[in-house]
């Protein structure tokens, strides 16, 4: 039995293993003793023998690559295993590495895989924090590798962050790059590492936003990001909150999409008095509680205009300003509508203007009340009011502004952008047209698009004006048009 003492790094092992192999010592005749500290290893063989040994050893190139990594493994048995495989490769089994199920090769592959995984995780999970050091910016990370991989992995970080000055601190070894060369020092405690960074808050924001709460798969996450790393990953701080909120965020998405949260019995068709008097209808609508929207709205916003107006315009629902004023289309969208009507040569005062839904639906965002699209149940609950208005006014031309109005009158099959600008015969009016809602023009991304969309809107209204001008059914229509 021969005891071989050597510094436990690959280069040293490679040197002495060549000598031992040349000396013809079988694996069971050698004990590998790791030498720690600075004392020099004892040369057992003379220089000539070493050179000779080097020339004679022939192994597959892949063995050297694997051995370099396995040498970084924390297991004390690695040297023994490496030598056994080396011995077998050079004693009649040159193909040994191909037999992946051989117990020695299997063990070697297992260790190799553990080191490669550790190397990969270090590349993934090192998190630099920016600090000012001697008037210069340094990036410092703390990481706890499972194996002795700091020196093996440092060139990767050098190649990637060559333009920065950085240090990676670990309990075993620390790697440093000053912009010119790599250096290594002994391990340090965690307390040496910085604890905060100015960009981390943004990173957490990103991490929380990119996660899709509708598909929680925590097992998949933990398989790739085991808990032992969590301590040094800043983003894991918000994990518990993300997981806690995931079910409710998903539920909210589903609810918001179809307002299924409220039971159906909260939505009734509004009980409308059997009358064609707009005053009677308006009064009755003030107390409407057919759907829950009345609870958060200031007041019912009923339609207004001449009783026998030839044109009726139907919008979506009152907005913030309409809700306060109690009148339809007085806010920004209303002003845009006025301008467009004027440009098309139509006098708004002669039109009856109303909405498909008579209460303002909104969600709080900060101090503002943000418009929320009415759901199909709310539209259905409110439809009787619109039907009563249509029956009372009996317009010759009906213009539906936007999807909600179109859905209320024509059902869900229509598409605003596809069907706009054409005459459709509806249940309520032989000349019915869909066009966009003026608020969609306000949402256009830029001035150019807004201008284009506005022109298309006015074009639709001009078609309406021409239709109104046709007829000749009495003075009403003539009076209606501003000088064309």
């Amino acid at each position: 039995m021969r005891q071989i003492t050597f510094a436990p790094v690959f280069r040293e092992w490679q040197r002495v293993a060549r000598e031992v192999l040349a000396g013809g010592l079988a694996p069971n005749e050698v004990v590998w003793e790791e030498l720690h500290g600075e004392q020099p290893g004892l040369g057992m063989f003379d220089e000539a023998a070493t050179q000779q040994a080097k020339a004679r050893v022939r192994v597959p190139r892949s063995f050297v690559e694997i051995a370099k990594r396995v040498a970084c493994h924390r297991s004390a048995r690695r040297w023994d295993l490496l030598y056994r495989v080396l011995w077998r490769l050079t004693h009649g089994e040159p193909h040994l590495l191909e037999v992946t199920v051989d117990p020695d090769v299997y063990e070697l592959a297992r260790m190799d895989k553990a080191v490669r995984r550790d190397v990969h995780k270090m590349r993934a999970f090192v998190r630099f924090r920016e600090v000012a050091h001697d008037g210069e910016t340094w990036f410092i990370a703390w990481f706890e590798p499972a194996h002795h991989i700091v020196e093996l992995n440092a060139p990767f970080f050098r190649d990637r962050f060559a333009g920065m000055r950085w240090s990676i601190l670990t309990p075993d070894r620390c790697a440093h790059w000053d912009g010119r060369m790599l250096s290594f020092t002994d391990g340090v405690p965690r307390s040496e590492a910085p604890v905060e960074d100015r960009v981390e808050a943004l990173w957490l924001t990103y991490y929380g936003s990119i996660f899709n709460p509708a598909r929680v798969k925590t097992h998949a996450m933990q398989a790739e990001m085991p808990k032992k790393y969590w301590r040094d990953l800043p983003e894991t701080a918000i994990l518990p909150a993300l997981l806690r909120e995931a079910p409710s965020r998903t539920a909210e998405m589903i609810v918001r999409s179809r307002s299924k949260a409220a039971p159906a019995d909260e939505f009734h068709p509004a009980p409308v008095p059997d009358s064609t008097s707009l005053t009677t209808l308006r009064k009755a609508a003030l107390g409407c509680t057919a759907c829950p929207l009345y609870r958060n709205a200031t007041q019912t916003v009923f339609g207004e205009g001449p009783k026998h107006a030839p044109l009726m315009l139907v919008g979506e629902q009152p907005g913030d300003q309409e809700d306060r004023a109690g009148r339809a289309f007085v806010g920004p969208a209303g002003q845009l509508l006025n301008r467009a009507l004027a440009d098309a040569g139509i006098d708004r005062d002669q039109a009856y203007v109303t909405n498909a839904v008579k209460h303002f639906k909104w969600e709080p965002r900060g101090k503002r009340r943000l418009h929320a699209k009415p759901g199909s149940r709310e539209i259905a609950a409110c439809r009787p009011w619109l039907e009563a208005e249509l029956a009372a006014v009996k317009p010759r031309v009906l213009v539906l502004l936007g999807g909600t109005a179109a859905q209320s009158v024509l059902g869900s099959k229509v598409r605003v952008l596809r069907d706009r600008g054409q005459w459709i015969e509806s249940e309520y009016c032989a000349r019915t047209m869909i066009t966009v809602h003026p608020s969609s023009l306000l949402r256009a991304p830029d001035g150019e698009a807004r201008e284009k969309n506005y022109e298309a809107f006015v074009e639709d209204l001009k078609t309406v004006a021409r239709e109104l001008a046709k007829s000749g059914r009495g003075d009403r229509c003539q009076a209606f048009l501003i000088d064309p």
Partner: protein, 410 residues
């Protein structure tokens, strides 16, 4: 609006794109200047609780969009809150995140603003600044707009490691219903343009390594699954044709998940995650295992309770058992439980000794799964029906009730 708020809106809007790959590109490093490196292997820097990795900073430049694709949260008719980054803001975020080793690079996409060319130009500005002003050597994935002019797509390929155009839905009819502004012919036309440039650049670089690169990590696409009634055969046929004709690196399948403020034309339920998983399995079988689409979709949809390879094996008992000491690679690839790597290992091992069950254990082969289908020196199965418990017939709901989404896991 402050940067943090913008980031949360525009990352949230980007998360429905499944791809986060940062692999398969050329090797670069920053030792001669600049910032960053790529090795060809991707790195996942973090994982979110949905099990997906965070490899790239995946954001939209803006979620304003003039299109009205119903499955998309950013469609013009959606009430979602809007935001817009300036190109400089995205460049700074990318560099700040990269320096701290949070990411491998950037995946930039955008809603269509003004017109396709204007939008593409904005996206290119970010990539150009990163590459030219900051010498950024990390990974860049650019979402390409099929309607943009070819010169802009060409420039995108010069800066990007990967380009992608989403086909979004499996059939042209689906697109007509849900994404009226998109058109499959135009999408595939743009893919052809990109594919030709990639092939050309590869050929030039074989002649001279100094020839310019063009999207070295290839192109990919994404299809949304479960938003339309298209069956798995239609989806996989489309995918196979994309792989064949445009040499795509990947087709991603994204289970349609409920989005806030969804259109009423969409099915509203938990994302069909099992179906998505089966489609990926089938995708692999087609690309690496020599299966034809028709072979695995005999009943139009993939079975949800067992994987497509096992389903095929149970339908073809005459092929089995397969003798692992003699069978061809093609035949071994058909054995449920044997993957490409293990098949190649078995081929190497059996040159030196006869395979036994012990050997398979060491290869981490799922023994209970493979045993009914193989013979080794020390094993030969009884009839498949006796050893393999065929799962009882059960019609699973393609669309699980919303409950799955609420409880989370499958």
């Amino acid at each position: 609006m402050d940067l943090e708020r913008k980031l949360s809106i525009l990352a949230d809007a980007a998360k429905y794109d499944a791809s986060c790959a940062s692999s398969g590109t050329t090797a670069r490093n920053s030792r001669a200047g600049g910032m960053g490196s790529t090795t060809g292997a991707g790195i996942c820097h973090s994982y979110t609780p949905d099990g997906r990795c965070v490899s790239l900073l995946k954001v939209l430049l803006t979620n304003y969009c003039i299109y009205d694709c119903l499955y998309c949260i950013n469609r013009v008719s959606s009430g979602v809150q809007r935001a817009r980054f300036t190109p400089d803001e995205v460049v700074k975020l990318t560099m700040d995140f990269y320096r701290r080793n949070y990411i491998e690079g950037l995946f930039l996409s955008s809603g269509i603003i003004r017109n396709p060319d204007y939008t593409m130009e904005q996206v290119l500005q970010v990539a150009r600044k990163l590459r030219q002003e900051h010498g950024f050597k990390g990974y860049i994935h650019l979402k390409t707009i099929p309607e943009a002019s070819p010169e802009l797509i060409e420039e995108a390929g010069r800066w990007a490691d990967r380009l992608s155009i989403n086909v979004e839905l499996p059939t042209p009819a689906d697109l007509d219903v849900l994404a009226p502004e998109k058109n499959l012919t135009r999408i595939r036309g743009a893919m052809t343009v990109i594919e030709r440039k990639i092939t050309q650049s590869k050929a030039e670089r074989r002649e001279s390594p100094k020839a310019p690169v063009f999207s070295p990590a290839g192109q990919s696409t994404q299809m949304i699954v479960g938003a339309t009634p298209a069956d798995d055969r239609a989806i996989l046929t489309q995918a196979a044709s994309l792989y064949r004709e445009h040499k795509l690196r990947r087709v991603y399948y994204s289970a349609f998940s409920p989005i806030p403020d969804a259109s009423s034309k969409l099915p509203l339920q938990a994302p069909p995650l099992v179906r998505e998983h089966r489609l990926y399995q089938a995708d692999w079988l087609i690309r690496f295992y020599g299966f034809e689409v028709s072979e695995i979709t005999e009943s139009r949809n993939l079975p949800l309770d067992i994987d497509p390879k096992l389903a095929w094996a149970l339908r073809h008992p005459a092929v089995f058992p397969v003798d692992l000491n003699r069978a061809s690679r093609e035949l071994m690839l058909r054995v449920p439980g044997l993957g490409v790597r293990n098949v190649d290992r078995i081929l190497a091992i059996r040159r030196w000794h006869k395979l036994r069950l012990d050997d398979l254990t060491r290869l981490h082969v799922p023994m209970r799964k493979v045993m009914p289908f193989i013979t080794t020196v020390d094993h030969s199965p009884h009839r498949i029906e006796r050893t393999m418990r065929i799962p009882e017939e059960r019609q699973l709901d393609l669309f699980d009730p919303a409950q799955t989404a609420l409880t989370g896991e499958l």
